[in-house]
Symmetry: C2
């Protein structure tokens, strides 16, 4: 095979994997949004079958030879092709560690686990879910040990979500957050709460859907490229720059829950929609690591979405749709209600100040689960103990405790730290952005386009061409400094609560 033939074979492989991943992604999205409940087993079978084909193709001898041929001439490859081969090799090395049958069985296990988790969460029934989680933990541990027997298994998993990440980098990060934020959280908890009575009314779902439309317009999300679905635990699925799906959930008694789901997932969507044309359909399409992705979603959700100017823009929209519920509410009142800080039970609905502590608890639990120090059956107890210790709250049931998140059910162990890291990256990116862009003028004008354009240039359009570290450097304008995040939170909540 000469270089040209190899590059053509690479393109053919991209087209093949694109089709299979598109199909699997569609089955997954369908399953998480609109599929009937009893459809899970057959869908799991199909997804496992298609994943098996991907596995066979990527681990095949032909693909191995293709990678060797291309790497032997790496000096002749353009940056895009070199990066593609690098990512393909990483993926092949990982998949080669798991025999096809085991891999397919794992795919099917996850599909079933998602369904079991849904039901277990509704019923607050951890016991029915535990056997699935057990198997998922065992799979991840076994996989990590095969990949790098010398490293702690959890470090290997972290590295899978963010190249180079380890407990050595994360322990001090979370230690800083715990040390600096815990006193602030306690001080805030002792202060009078803002008035949120206006939120505790009925906001009819069909009107909340109209509000979603307006929020997406303000964010610059074109419905012709980005659909919105409903699901239990909101997520975003991006197939290409003309097909991204955000999801949300509607609760009649919580208009902000939907709002911030849409803004958060909308941040993910803007990233996927902003990936460069030349990367579409290739291995470099789609967003980079989870923490870079979360830096975007958490950026829009909190730094923009929970800012005073954004509340000023939302106010007339809310008043138009919910005149009675919003009677007497001004932008400052909305802003303060949207930034109510209180030690609470649910991570996705936590305020910015306590949010990373929720993540830290999951980080500590995952470390212990994967090392074997924490048995699956003991997770609820340990979860509840840590929520009491770090946030001072009693967990009343597992629905609002260790069953609240879907991540473990789809095999994502080592993913949670991305949320805290991403939140911290975002703060530093905002400071850097403010040097170039009139951020708050843009928000007040009711269009986030200049903000998205800046992020597009620094981050989105690169897709996976740059490494996560390079993207973070690009966005932050310098090495990552978690103190920016801590200082931002102290300042914002100091002002809000007169500390």
């Amino acid at each position: 095979m000469n270089l040209n033939e190899a590059l053509n074979a690479l393109k053919e492989l991209e087209a093949t994997l694109r089709a299979y991943n598109h199909a699997i992604g569609c089955l997954n999205y369908d399953g998480e949004t609109v599929a009937p409940r009893n459809s899970a087993p057959a869908r799991g079978e199909t997804m496992a079958f298609l994943s098996g084909i991907i596995h066979n193709r990527v681990t095949s001898q032909e693909t191995g030879e293709l990678i060797e041929t291309l790497l032997a001439e790496k000096d002749k490859l353009c940056a895009m092709d070199l990066r593609k081969v690098t990512l393909l090799k990483e993926s092949r090395d990982d998949l080669t560690l798991v025999p096809a049958e085991e891999y397919m069985a794992y795919q099917q296990l996850m599909a079933e686990a998602m369904q079991v988790w849904h039901d277990a969460k509704l019923a607050s029934d951890f016991a029915s879910y535990a056997p699935y989680l057990d198997k998922i933990v065992a799979y991840n541990r076994r996989f990590a040990e095969r990949k790098n027997p010398a490293a702690p298994a959890y470090d290997v998993l972290l590295d899978g979500y963010e190249k180079g990440l380890s407990h050595e980098r994360l322990d001090p990060f979370f230690e800083l957050l715990r040390r600096e934020l815990t006193p602030v959280i306690l001080e805030v908890a002792a202060r009078p709460k803002p008035d949120t009575a206006f939120l505790e009314q009925s906001y009819p779902v069909h009107l909340q859907k109209k509000f979603t439309d307006r929020v997406m317009q303000i964010m610059g999300l074109d419905r012709d490229d980005c659909a919105v679905g409903e699901t239990e635990h909101p997520f975003t699925e991006g197939f290409n720059k003309h097909d991204v799906r955000i999801t949300t959930h509607y609760h009649e008694d919580s208009v902000l829950s939907n709002l911030y789901s849409v803004v958060h997932e909308g941040g993910h969507a803007l990233y996927e929609l902003g990936v460069g044309d030349e990367l579409q359909g290739t291995f470099l399409a789609g967003g980079s690591s989870m923490s870079v992705h979360e830096s975007q979603s958490r950026f829009y959700e909190n730094l923009i979405g929970r800012s005073r100017p954004f509340c000023e823009v939302l106010l007339p929209e809310l008043k138009a749709l919910f005149p009675e519920q919003m009677a007497g509410v001004d932008a400052e009142k909305l802003y303060r209600a949207a930034n109510l800080s209180t030690p609470s039970l649910i991570r996705t609905e936590a305020d910015e100040l306590t949010y990373s502590i929720h993540v830290m608890i999951r980080y500590e639990l995952e470390k212990a689960m994967i090392s074997g120090a924490l048995k699956t059956a003991d997770i609820p107890g340990e979860w509840n103990r840590m929520y009491k210790e770090y946030l001072g709250v009693e967990v009343p049931d597992d629905r609002r405790g260790c069953l609240q998140d879907s991540h473990w059910s789809f095999g994502a162990i080592g993913y949670f730290p991305s949320y805290a890291l991403g939140s911290a990256y975002g703060v530093q990116m905002l400071a850097n952005m403010e040097k170039d862009v009139d951020v708050w003028g843009a928000v007040r004008s009711g269009s986030l386009k200049p903000i998205t354009a800046w992020l597009g240039e620094k981050i989105h359009h690169y897709g996976q061409l740059l490494t996560p570290d390079e993207l973070v450097l690009n966005g932050c304008g310098g090495p990552f400094d978690p103190n920016c995040y801590v200082n931002y939170l102290k300042k914002k909540y100091g002002e809000l609560y007169n500390l």
Copy 2:
């Protein structure tokens, strides 16, 4: 390969095709319901790619040898296996006529055509759609000529939807309908219309959705096995007996439109849900021919759904959800409004009396399109002329004319007659059912279970094990007689309009 090995290979082939067809079906359902508008080209590519894999697999030499091996020992095969091989061979013979590349290009063409049709319909812009229809007609003609150069091409296409169907069987059928029904249609058109003013009010969509829930309950459609989506042109997609999707459309100014979409598609769904356990996942899963499928959907929609007893059951449901709109309406008034007969523009919303004339027009047009007697560009003119001639209505635009149906866009030419045949089969099946079941007592009790159980036993549970002819005989209890249909319509509309 011995017989046992061949049967195992057949099972493996079933599993493979089941996975690919599931993925393609899911992509299609997603595209027709929730996908963003601009997603069509990439989805078309993926569907074409996956269809190509199916094509390769079915037309492969191995599959050819497998069929030969099994047919060589056909005496040793059970009825199920023999029927599977028969259907596989038919499918292979068809696919072998079309080279893989042409087949994939056609799949992609259809995916794009669906999107173009959607837009063209909204804009009443036939010209933008014509080039796609041209290609689809040319493909179908070419395919028919390859399959049987001796027969008229349209007969070959009809036979593809219903084994043995031809213009020789259909011409007299439609001639009978035209001859017997046209005078009745004209007489009815001259009579006073029932009072339908109560329907011409606003029925909010979020309340119509609750009505859908109740209608599905009455039909015995379990939401855990059967989801409901929204689309432009309602259809049903069945993956297996635990995963069927019906679709509907909501118009605030037309509560009956949604109702009868749900009941019609619900009829298709009950068929798919009733296929026997032993057939699940095999080539024999899912419903039989299109006309047998339509016999079920049209049965529920009209014979049950537009009956007096069903209107009696619906009335309190409607009154509970729409008390103001339904004030002063009794069951008889609802029944008469639901059976308003008037020569109209839209097939899917046509009353039972005029319905088959809409179908007949499409039948005549398709015959002429495929023979080449009618050029694509001339379809709107010819459509409008026939609507004037046979129904006496002026077609104001192509949205309400030749762009109203999606069928040609997904390649279904020769499908339309199934609707009229199915309607006619259903009437004869009802007469046969009434010998065994207290049909109207069941309807009045608010549960269609005894009706569905009878159809399940005679038709549904066979899946594709029996031929369409055998199923029709089973359901009708004797040879098909179109006069039953004509007499039923004359009696019903005679009574309604005092003819």
